[in-house]
Structures are given as structure tokens and as C-alpha cells.
Symmetry: D2
Subunit: 338 residues, 4 copies
């Protein structure tokens, strides 16, 4: 009776999800996995009593798999999601939906053609209690009309080979979705500013990424992926009557040696663990009945479109417009359209 | 393969646990329930596909029940826990273990006689991330030796019939366990102070309850169960080099009309929901292999002993010593004895 | 045209006041000083162009002195204040007014006989913006009726020879006045609790001092004069509808190495410098016209009476009542009588 | 022996300064004032025992005036400051030094020709304890190298006729000086972003103003002069090892009705009153001996140059460079050059 889940990709994020699905989510079990790192896949599979397949498509087609979670490299997402749709199986795909808007549109087309929602994108912040409180403050009218959104997205350090483009597509893309979801509208333009670079960074870092929304809300995102001191994600939504700001929780204060201090989250697992938990439990609960609370394929498409414009802005140094196709009525309930 | 759980008591807390066990805890299912409120029990059972039994003992003896959760009235706990031990089934019993130390001792005796731990007491704060951070600050030496512990335990309002004795046995008993667990030592005396009573209270409220520990740490607990403005549980542990203080999380700040504000938790579900989740998942995970992380029957006994001394102190107005039997070596690993 | 001030006592506090009066307060100048430490007095006098007298009474009688500030040892205060009253000169006397209630009563008698207020006691917290905000929250009805007051009074370390009695008379006496002033009523009983002592303390430390007010408000004061980590004065006033709590200001947060931190004030000068400034400016402004905003001789008497009861409680270990004479109508406007 | 001060301009700010200088600053008196609003000037003069002159130059030339404070309209500052220099009298001039860089340069030239510093600009934030703490965090190496500076500058509402240009020259100019002083370097370019306008604003509001410094630090300033909820000035300085952020002080928390709240300052007087006090006391103390701690004429010139570039950027929509003359060695000690 549990939802039998196949997980594609058992790297850092994929195995993190496997562990959660197998041991912390009610009504779920992991029955099959795949990763190009075969040994790693076998190890992860053994840990939860699942089978390790030789190919991603084998997982999708496995009759003991009811639904899929995709945590493979981003450039493989589109084909894998399309295969899930073809198999008629629900899929929770880590961002991005695809690395190009063209590929995203193929997914939208396939899903619309199939006639029922199967795809959810893993934007877990939508399940974070604090982000929800910010959204509730806006939606409840307590801060008036949205005018500005300031965001900070800092990571302590990056792995070798991490480029400034990746800071946009892998990190700031969360702010893309946050912006669309919080404000309920699309981003229409992207620009960049870059100044001094941290001595700890191999590439330009920090970077200021700036969005404009359809109604004219200005958004600025500080992307700083080598900030050293911790994982620090914050935002302040400024309205015409007040603001709602989101900071790291500060539950415990320790004082000694003339200072009071709070811990900064070490990484995204610490900060967003509860959001992932809520995301997966909600997806497992609702996927059978088609009750999706999270980001849709449309949201995935829009995020990729903004990222694509962002890459162009990065290359040209110019403010770049985001061009979206007309939204299919199929996605009418999607958060960013209210 | 899931742990099949029987739940005794389907009132407010019991049904809250049933819901969590059935829908949010991995590897658990609820197969049987009982409550004297028969209709309510049937309704709760139906909601999760369990059977509603005619008696508590039927749940305990039900062959489809591997382990028990007890959330019945406190004066029934001892007999029900004893029946679980007799049946050789693990049991997570809501506080108190029993309403008298005499009954607690019967449970200890039975458990020790059985030769393996079966009983855990539902002191969920031990699973709360913030309380753990306070404990880590002390255990890690960051604040020196413990000297004082200040606690605040406020509830917005009480149901009719709630007495000042109940404030001790139902509410402050959490601080009893918190004190023992944080400090790793026993409480040896209890006293009371009472002053002005809130116009919203039917009985004396607030009350100051004061503990002394074996090593001489002074603890004061403000118990205020009609504080009106919210559910507010805090503490500050003062050491010889600094302090660790625990406050409500303040993730989001909303500003308007000349003020910045944070929400105070509405009730214990909001504040301790994640702790309950961790408690139940941990119990379900470990109960099969006898790996208990939570409070033991000894901890339950000690809490009742302190509460008993507290009731005497309340009646007499005098500082009252807590008399504990010698701790069986069976409970050597119990948190409060390190 | 400036108020010409004589300062008796040029130790740590006295010279701090001389410096402020001479260089930071408008409309004031220091014309004469005295201290038994003759060289120190001369040095301080030279620094501000004042004369160093051979005796305290010479300062009081000096025709170039319009008003006095007394910062000598506490057991000399009564005689010096009486001399000021005899000379008809306003006097701002550091706490205590006198070390015995009997001596305090002599001052009250003399001041009442003189027919006009001349004496103000240096309880500077009444001028602190944060304490005023707490008082305004209560007086404005925002937190309902006062029920409890929790206080913390921590100093990093004490000089050699500092006794536990001095923690009461020199340190906690500020909470005595704060309590009376915030709540507008008298303290009627005092008791003590003592537990573990800090390894950094030569005497019992910390100590819990507890007051009861006329209307039954319970007050607890943690006195910890060797807390090591900083100067930390806080309180939380709990009312029937909410609370007002006062913490150290946290204007600036610095993050590095996985922690965000705020500075704890190093000492009372850092924490209460602005309060002293307001106190002295207000006193200098109003003293000519008899417009006193601060604590009166009555307040000084009441503080000493509570301290006296406290010392008895300390000696006996018993709750000790505070016995006050009937308040002369002369002091009807005194803060603690509303 | 007090410094005799003439104040030019007795409007809102000028009379605020007159009151402080006459009643709260040690060693200062106000002997003469001028304002085109003759009746207002007479009233202010009478309140402090000063003379109201018929012309600004009369105040400057008044032999009972040792030093000047200028709080007249900005377009009159240059001529008045030049007159002060000509008279050889120290002058504390409210920002701006002049409304054009050309006029600023005339002042620099005159002051340099005179051979000694006479001019200080009223950038009071340099005296604010919190801003100093941020600067100390950077200068002390605790946050590494400066990389980004985020600023928020919000006012509750603007008077009629307030333009978006004035938001730059009257309000954001404080961030211009803060940036230069905190970072110790010049601003080399300015740009603007504007999006949705508040329904409470007559002109574009909020606006994002962006600076680049000589070393490449990016600065963003949210200017929002109709934010409704209060006066809110904050900043976060991001370094290569951590950050230092400055928020409103939160000394007192009041809880009721399910929320804990802090007051937001009502206006700049509440927020920066202590900074003005420190600024004026410091100026009065040091002006005689030529010991200036505050912003120099060079700082005033640089601020006007940035504002001028800002106005061009506002008009053109383009990033605009700031062109400064070479700094005379006379101003070598100026803060922004260390």
C-alpha cells in the first residue's frame, strides 16, 4: 500500500532523498534506484532494500515503481521526465526541469497531451514554514502591495569547477522560484552587477542578480557562494505598508567571553531539512490522487527561462528580457499566476 | 514490516498521535485503538484503517499490535504499562508514568524483572532541536558549570476545572524532566511561591515552582497557564562562564504601523510538533532493537516523585525534599544519572 | 549662570561624575571637590579647574558651590546629606541614602522640616530609555496588571573583599528601586535562595533574591556578580495580558566562523552611560526650580529598608518583612506611591 | 569661556540644533541666530537668550559669535560657509556643503588658502555608536575585505513637493557619506533602478540607488521615503569572511495578543538623537584647538559630486561616473582616504 518510489541519481542529493523516503516519510518505500556510479547506486540500494538498475529507463519502467524522483545531472532531466510521462508515472524532478527552455516546452507539451499533471519540480522552499509566513503576510494584506524584494543567498564554499554561471542556474534559481511564488507573477527581465571578488573565490563572486516582475516589483539577489561563515538564505519583502523579513531561526543564544551568539546553519540540509520533509510527505500523500501542492512543470519552465535570460545577461552585461510562451490553461492553477 | 501500533486513548493528544503515526512516521501503522469514548475511538480508528477495541487490554493483547502508545488519563497509565510489560510489548507512555511513586515503582520492578527495556515516557522536549542545543552548550563546556536554570512555561488558557495542582503535574512536570535531562542529575527538593493571581484564572496562577538539584543548582519555573497572549516556553541555563538561553524561534519579522513583530506560538502543537515527530520516528525506528533514546521508566518515576513532593510543598507551603529509591543498575544509562 | 557643583568623593564613580558634569552636561560646572585620597582629589580638581578642599563640609559650605553630588562611601552619606540640607543646598546622593533606616529617617525628618525637596538619590535606571519603555508598557495598559517581575543582574567580576551582603546592598538595591518605580508600590518582604557557587567567586554567588510587593507581585532577582562574560542587566515584567522584557540592545550583529554575535556590555558605564547623562542633565536643569524627576529621599529610605530586611533574611534564612514608617505627605508625589 | 555659537537657519533642523546647543551641550551657548522667517527666529532666539539678526552675515560677523552652525536651505550654504572662512570662524554646516561641485570647490579653495580647517559637515552618522561598531568590525579585520554594502533608508512619509531628486540629495546623501567613511574610499559611479511606486507616493518611490567604489565594492541603497510604518535605517556590510549588519536597536519587547513586538523609531530624531549629541559635543570640544573628528569640506565636496552624478544618472537612466578633482594634501587625513 506504500507508494513505491524509484530514484534516479544517488549522488549527494539523491542519496539524501533516498534516505528520507525510506526512513522518514510515511507511506513511501524506495524499490529501485539508478546511478552511473554503479557501486554507489548498489550501496544506496542495499541500504534500503531496493534494486539497483543498470539504466535510468529501467527504473522508470520497473513495475514495482509507482512514482519517480529524479536527482540526476540537470542536462538529463528532460529526457527522464519525458520517459516518466510516457510511462504515466508521477515524477518529482529536482530543479532544473531542463537546462533549456526548448526542452522544458517539450515536457509541457507531453504533460498537457497526457491530460493530467504528473510532474512536480523540487523547489522545496515552498514548503518552508518561514517562506510560507512571508507569503501569508503579503497575501493577508498586512504589508500592503509588494514593491521590492531583497534576497541574500550565501553558501560557505563551492566545489572545484563551480562557475559564475552555475551560481545562477544552481543557486539563484531558488530565488527565481521564490520570487514567482511569493509574488504570484512572472519575472520579465534579468540583469547583473559584479564588483570585487572574494579572495576565496575562483570566479566572480559575489554577484548581484536583479529581476523585474510583470507588475514592476524590483528584486535583488546577492549570490555569494564562497562566503565562508555559513549557509545563509534570507529575504525581505517590502510592501507599501510594511515589510516581512525572513532570517535564520535563532532559537538558542549562547553567551560567553563578552558576546552572545547564534549558530548560522552549516548547510542547506540544516536550514531546509524540514522543508524537504514536508515536500516529500506532501508529494507522497497527494501524488496518487493528483493533488500537487508544489511547483509545476510550468514553474520549472519559467525558472529555466529566467535562468536562460540570466546567462544571456551575464554574457552581454545587458538587462535581458525573459520571453515566455503563453501559459497553457492546463497550468492555470500554477502558483505564479494568481 | 511496518511497526504495528495500538493506541490507548483517542482524546486530543491520543488522536494527535494516531494521526502522526498513521500519516507522518515512516515504518509505522496504527492497527488498533481504544477509548472509553467509544464513538470517538471508532471514528479515529476508521480514519486510519484500524480496529477499535472494547477494552484497553484488548489492544495490548491484540496479535496485530507490536507496540503500544498510551495517551489515556494519567491514573490509568500504571496498570496499562504493566499490562504491556506482561505482554512483552514496547510502550511509549505519555507522562506521567503513574500518578503515585508507589505505582511507578511497580512498573520499574516489572520492567527490571523482565530483563529488557520496554517503556519510554513521552517527554518530547528531549527531541526538540533547541533544547538539544542548550544541552550541547553545557555538555560541550561552552558555558562552564551549571549554576542556575530559569524556566518559563506559559499557556494561553486552561479548560474549566484546571487546578493549581494540575499546573504542577501536567505542565511543570515537563520542566522536571527538562531539568533532570539537561543537568544530568536528580532534583532533591521542591518549593512554591504564589502571589497575585491573574484576573483570567480561576485558581492561583501564576505560580513560581522552585527546584534544587543534587549538586545544588537552583531552578525556578514560572508556571502561568492563563497568560492569554500565547504558548511560551523558554529557559536560560546559567553557567560559570556564560549562559545558554532558549526562546521561541523568530524566523520571520513583520513590520507595519510603527512596530516590528514576531508571532508567538499558538499552542504546544505549533511549538513542539517537530519534537513529537522526531520522538515518534526515533521510537518506531529503535523499539524493535531495544534502542531507546528517550526518557525511561526511571525518568518517569523520578518525575512523579518530584511532582509528589511538589504537591506536598503546595499543601504545606514548605520546602519539601524529594525521596528517591536507589536507582537500579538496570537504569544506569538513564539520562539523569550521567 | 551655570550651576556650580561640589563633588564629595572622587573615586571611580565620583570622578566619572566629575568628568561628565564638567564636560558633557549643559549649564553645569564643577567648582570644588573633596576626597580622603587627597592627591587623587587634587588631580581630579585640576583636571576641571576646581578647588580641592580638605574636608567634605568645606565643599558643602563653599560659597562657590550651589549644589552637591555625593559619591563618598555609603556610611558617610547620611551626615553629608544632612549637612547639605542644613546648608539649604540641593544634593544628588549616590545610593544608598544611608546604610541604616534610622539614619535615613533623620534625613527625611530634616528635609521635611526644611519644607522643600533638596535630596535626590542616584538611581539612574529611572532615566534609562529601555526601563522607561517597560514602565510605559505597563502604565499604558498594554500588558494588563503586573503579576511577576523577573530580574537578572550580572557583573563580570568583583573586587577582592566583595561580600554576599554587598551584592545585596550595592548591586541588587538597583532592582529594589526598579521594582518600586516600575510597579509604583512598596516591597513588603524579602527572601533568599542560594545554591551552587561559581568557581570564580570567593563567596556565595550567584544568589536568588526574592521580593513581594504590597499588592502581591512576586519579584525574583538573580544576583550574579562573577558571571565572567559581561555586564548583563535584564528584566521581564509579566502582566495578565502579556509581558514587557528588557534586554541588552543589539544594534549590530557580526557574523563569521559559523556564528552571528552581538557584544555584551563590558560594564555599567557602557550600559548606563546614557542614563547617567540624562540623570545629570535633568537634575542640573531642574534643581534650581525644585523640579525633581528622580528618586526622592523617601525612595532612598525605602531602598535601605528593603536592603536591611534583606540582610536579616540573609542571616536568618527566613522570609523577612519590610517595615516602613508611614510616608509623610511631603513625599506624596514619590514614584513608588502611585 | 563657553563657545559662543551663531546659528543660521531656525527651521525644523536649525531650531532642533539651537535647543541642543543651548541646553544639552557642555561648554556651548547660542548667542545669535538668523532666519528669513523673522518671527520664528526671534522666538527661537528669545528661548535661549540669543539675539536675532536681520541677515546671515550679521551673525557671522557678530563679535559675540565664535563659531557657526548652518542649517539654512542648501543652496545658501556655499556663500555662508565662504563668509565664515573669510571671518576665520569655524563652521558646522549641515549637508550639503553646496548644491554644486563648483561651489564646493570654491569652499575647498578658500579653506586651503586659509591654511587651517574651519569647516565640518553635519554627517552625524559618523558619531552613531552602531555605525562605529560596523566600522570597527571591518577595520578590526573580523569580516575580512569589504565586498558589498546593502543599505536601507526609509522614512515614513514626505512633505508635499518632495521629489525623487530630493530623495537622492537629501536622504541618500547620508548613505553616500556612510559608504565613503565605512569603506575609506571614494565612490566612482552611480546608477538607478525604479520599479513599482507606492500608492502613498506622489513620485517614483521606492528607488534603488547603486554605487561602485574605487576598489569595486558594490553598494545598493533602497531609498523609500513613504514607507509608512516608521523611520528605518539599516545596513549590512558583507566581507570576505563574514558580515556586520546594523539594525534598529531592540531593547524592549512587548508581547500580547499572540505577538511579540519592538518599536520602530518614529523619526530621525529618535534614531539619531544620541549621534547628534555626540557630534555637537565633539565639535564644541574640539573646534577651538582645530581637532575635528567629523566630515571635512572634502567629504562634503565628494558627497555633492556623487549626488550630482546621481542626478545625471536619474535623468539619463545610465550608469554615471563620478569625477573628482585631485584631493588636496590639505585633506589627507580625511576619513574616506585612509
Amino acid at each position: 500500500m506504500a507508494l513505491r518510489i524509484g530514484v534516479i541519481g544517488t549522488g549527494m542529493i539523491g542519496s539524501y532523498h533516498v534516505d528520507r523516503l525510506a526512513t522518514q516519510v510515511s507511506g513511501a518505500e524506495v524499490t529501485a534506484v539508478f546511478d552511473v556510479a554503479t557501486e554507489r547506486a548498489k550501496e544506496v540500494a542495499a541500504g534500503v532494500g531496493a534494486r539497483a538498475h543498470a539504466q535510468a529507463t529501467d527504473v522508470i519502467e520497473d513495475p514495482t515503481v509507482d512514482a519517480l524522483v529524479i536527482a540526476s545531472p540537470g542536462d538529463l532531466h528532460a529526457d527522464q521526465v519525458l520517459a516518466c510521462i510516457a510511462a504515466g508515472k508521477p515524477v518529482l524532478c529536482e530543479k532544473p526541469l531542463a537546462t533549456t527552455t526548448q526542452d522544458c516546452l517539450k515536457v509541457l507539451e507531453a504533460e498537457v497531451a497526457g491530460g493530467r499533471q504528473l510532474v512536480q519540480i523540487g523547489f522545496m522552499r515552498r514548503y518552508d514554514a518561514a517562506y510560507r509566513e512571508v507569503k501569508a503576510a503579503l497575501d493577508g494584506g498586512r504589508i500592503g502591495e509588494a514593491l521590492l524584494l531583497h534576497c541574500v543567498h550565501r553558501n560557505p564554499a563551492t566545489p572545484p569547477g563551480f562557475t559564475r554561471e552555475m551560481a545562477l542556474t544552481d543557486s539563484v534559481v531558488h530565488e527565481v522560484d521564490t520570487t514567482r511564488w511569493l509574488l504570484g507573477e512572472e519575472i520579465v527581465a534579468v540583469s547583473f552587477r559584479a564588483g570585487r571578488t572574494s579572495p576565496h573565490a575562483a570566479n566572480q563572486d559575489p554577484q548581484m542578480v536583479m529581476f523585474e516582475t510583470a507588475s514592476g516589483v524590483l528584486v535583488d539577489v546577492e549570490s555569494f557562494v564562497n562566503c565562508q561563515y555559513g549557509y545563509d538564505v534570507r529575504c525581505e519583502l517590502v510592501g507599501s505598508e510594511g515589510f516581512a523579513s525572513l532570517d535564520n531561526p535563532s532559537h538558542v543564544t549562547v553567551a560567553h567571553s563578552a558576546a552572545r551568539s547564534n549558530v548560522v546553519p552549516a548547510d542547506w540540509k540544516v536550514r531546509f531539512g524540514a522543508a524537504f520533509q514536508a515536500e516529500f510527505q506532501s508529494w507522497v500523500d497527494g501524488v496518487g490522487s493528483g493533488d500537487y501542492q508544489g511547483a509545476s512543470a510550468w514553474d520549472g519552465y519559467a525558472a529555466t527561462a529566467v535562468a536562460e535570460a540570466g546567462l544571456a545577461a551575464l554574457a552581454s552585461g545587458e538587462r535581458t528580457s525573459v520571453q515566455l510562451v503563453e501559459r497553457p490553461s492546463f497550468y492555470a492553477g500554477s502558483e505564479a499566476s494568481r
